[in-house]
C-alpha cells in the first residue's frame, strides 16, 4: 500500500464517519453483521465473540483496538467482557461517535479514545493485555 493509497483511504473514512448512517444502512448492517456500529466490514458479532474467547478477555483486562472506526468491535468487547478498552484510529469523526457511544452505554469509565497512527502508538510497552484489529490489514 502506497502513501497515496493510505491518504485516500483516510480521506474516505474521514468523510464516511462524518455522516450518520441512514436508517436503511443501520438495518442492513444489523442483518449482515448483527450490530449497529456503522461498520461495513466482515467481522460479525459472532466473530467478535470468537476473538474475545481466543484472547481470553475478561473483566479488568486492558484491550487496545487499532483502527476502531466508530468503536467496533472494541466497545462491544468492553461491554461483553467487562474489559477496559482503548480505541485508536485516525479519523476524528469516527472516534467522536465512539466516545459518545461509550458514554451513552455507561462504558466511559472503562473506555479511552486516542487519535493515533498504529505505526506510532504513544503507549508504553506492556500497557495492554491484548491488541486487536479487524478488517484493518485486509
Amino acid at each position: 500500500m502506497t502513501v497515496r493509497d493510505e491518504l485516500q483511504a483516510r480521506a474516505l473514512f474521514q468523510e464516511r464517519y462524518g455522516n450518520r448512517p441512514s436508517p436503511a444502512a443501520c438495518q442492513i448492517e444489523q442483518r449482515v453483521i448483527g450490530g449497529d456500529w456503522g461498520a461495513n466490514g466482515y467481522t460479525t458479532m459472532a466473530q467478535a465473540d470468537t476473538l474475545a474467547r481466543g484472547l481470553g478477555l475478561s473483566a479488568g483486562d486492558r484491550l487496545l483496538d487499532l483502527g476502531t472506526g466508530r468503536g467496533w468491535p472494541g466497545l462491544y468487547l468492553a461491554a461483553r467482557t467487562g474489559c477496559r478498552v482503548l480505541l485508536t484510529d485516525l479519523p476524528l469523526e469516527g472516534l467522536r461517535v465512539a466516545a459518545d457511544r461509550a458514554a451513552a452505554e455507561g462504558l466511559a469509565a472503562r473506555t479511552g479514545v486516542v487519535a493515533s497512527a498504529a505505526s506510532g502508538l504513544p503507549f508504553r510497552a506492556g500497557s495492554f493485555d491484548a491488541v486487536i484489529h479487524t478488517d484493518v490489514l485486509c
Binding site: M1, D5, L7, A9, R10, A11, Q14, N19, S22, A24, A25, I28, R31, V32, I33, N40, Y42, T43, T44, A46, Q47, T50, L51, G54, L55, L64, R84, L86, L90, P91, L92, L95, A99, A102, A103, A109, T111, G112, V113, V114, A115, S116, A117, S119, G120, L121, P122, F123, R124, A125, G126, S127, F128, A130, V131, I132, D135, V136, L137, C138
Partner: protein, 149 residues
C-alpha cells in the same frame, strides 16, 4: 494479539494472484507473511483459523441486503459511488468463490505480553472518555491540527 485479515490464497499462479489483488482490499496486495511478521515482533504460539466460509457468507449478505435499498442508498452518495461499491462487492465475492482470497483469524501471544511501540512519546494507557489526539498523528485535516495537545 488477535486480528482478522484477508489474504491471497496460497499457491496461486501469477495470473490468479493478480486477480486476487485486484479483487481484494488494497492491503491484500502487500506481500506480507503474517506469521513471519508476528514472530519477528516477538509473538509466538500463533494460531490461524480459516474463516473464509463466513467471509463468503458475509460478503454475499452485504450484496444481497443492500440491493433492495439501492436507489435510496445511491442518492446519499456521490453519483456512481454506490454502484461502484456494489460492483466491487460482486468482484470480491467471485474471487472468494474462485478460491483466490481467504479470510483468517490470527491469534498470537508473546511471553512478555508486550504491546505498544518503542521509541515514541509516551502517554498513559489509562482509559479516559476524553478524546486525545496523539501529537504525532498525521495531519489529515485542520480539525486534527487544531485539536493537538
Amino acid at each position: 494479539m488477535g486480528f482478522y485479515t484477508i489474504v491471497e490464497s496460497p499457491g496461486l499462479s501469477p495470473t490468479a494472484r493478480r486477480r486476487a489483488r485486484a479483487a481484494g482490499p488494497r492491503a491484500v496486495a502487500m506481500r506480507s507473511d503474517h506469521h513471519r511478521l508476528l514472530r519477528a515482533a516477538g509473538f509466538d504460539d500463533i494460531t490461524e483459523l480459516d474463516v473464509t466460509p463466513a467471509f463468503a457468507a458475509t460478503a454475499a449478505a452485504w450484496l444481497a441486503e443492500t440491493e433492495p435499498y439501492a436507489d435510496a442508498l445511491a442518492r446519499l452518495e456521490p453519483p456512481g459511488a454506490f454502484q461502484q461499491r456494489q460492483a466491487d462487492r460482486r468482484i470480491l465475492l467471485a474471487a472468494i468463490h474462485a478460491g483466490l482470497l481467504r479470510r483468517v483469524l490470527l491469534l498470537a501471544r508473546t511471553p512478555m505480553n508486550v504491546a505498544g511501540g518503542e521509541g515514541h512519546e509516551r502517554a498513559s494507557a489509562t482509559p479516559s472518555s476524553r478524546l486525545i489526539v496523539h501529537p504525532r498523528a498525521p495531519r489529515i485535516s485542520g480539525t486534527i491540527a487544531s485539536r493537538r495537545r
